[in-house]
Symmetry: C2
Subunit: 147 residues, 2 copies
DNA sequence: TTCAATTTAATTGAGTTCAATTTATTTTAA
DNA sequence: TTAAAATAAATTGAACTCAATTAAATTGAA
């Protein structure tokens, strides 16, 4: 290998992970003003997304869906509980497991959150074809990474 | 709009940001064992990537390249300085500005880091066509987000 | 049956991330 | 010229992220 090329793979511009990491953070930043209005952080918001669909889910399964472990989820769920959006209960059949439940107040929050996705689309306007392709590639990537 | 469709945009599976965020974290996790060997975190690693190319750069420009502000960079650069990989100096022409310089030790670290990209490719094996397409879309996305 | 291995959440600690503030310096406009 | 505005970096504080550990409960093998 030519000496001039020896370190090419180490250049920031030749990384696939870096633009992934940067784009992820830049988009999450765009959510902030909208999430501030409903009193959620981005991590709390994606946890609520699952709760809005499932109504009830245990911590382990929620963690698998979000790719987050209990070290991250515990304080996130505590915060959502403190705000009254979810309640937590030990599973009677298996006392190791904790089930998270959507509350009435959490259900009502869904109405206000429903405005957010369309607002984000305005900030982050990839053409629909590109967005779909990106979506497909990201899930393909996630599938290869998850061992 | 049908009631059944009213909240579709709020479903986790219909988000573009979520797989971005999840994939970013999952890949960075793959770096860890390799970065542990050379004593860097991922954030420190991408900062070093810029330094390996530029040798010398001020904090503001580094921040622009990495999409990170001084709130994040200050402790990262302090840690790199403590480990002897970079040195910092106030700019004589503009005392507000700080220039970060690659040290001899930092230069030597590049040899060991050069092994990492190929190891990551083995953990994250998207077909080359897909990887290139993903790369293109991510930079396109970054361009639309950065206002 | 019983005790070792496994599983589930929570906790801990180091490091990151970001908004907001502070400090020091430089630039600009009156 | 000088006072206000702008800029650069550091600091602060809240929250996230993750590896490692801990505690409690369950499972499984001898």
């Amino acid at each position: 290998m030519e000496n001039a090329e020896k370190y090419n793979a180490l250049k920031l511009e030749n990384q696939i992970c870096f633009p992934l990491y940067a784009a992820s953070r830049e988009i999450i930043k765009k959510y902030r003003p909208f999430l501030d209005e409903i009193g959620l952080t981005y991590t709390q918001y994606i946890a609520m997304m699952v709760l809005w669909e499932e109504k009830s889910i245990n911590v382990k399964t929620l963690g698998e869906k979000l790719f987050l472990d209990s070290g991250t989820l515990s304080p996130v769920l505590k915060s959502l509980e403190d705000k009254g959006f979810v309640s937590k209960l030990r599973d009677k059949n298996d006392e190791r497991s904790v089930t998270v439940n959507l509350t009435e107040k959490g259900e009502r929050l869904k109405e206000r959150a429903a405005e957010i996705p369309s607002k984000i689309v305005k900030c982050v306007s990839l053409p629909p074809d590109d967005a779909l392709h990106l979506y497909t590639l990201l899930y393909k990537l996630l599938a290869t990474v998850k061992e």
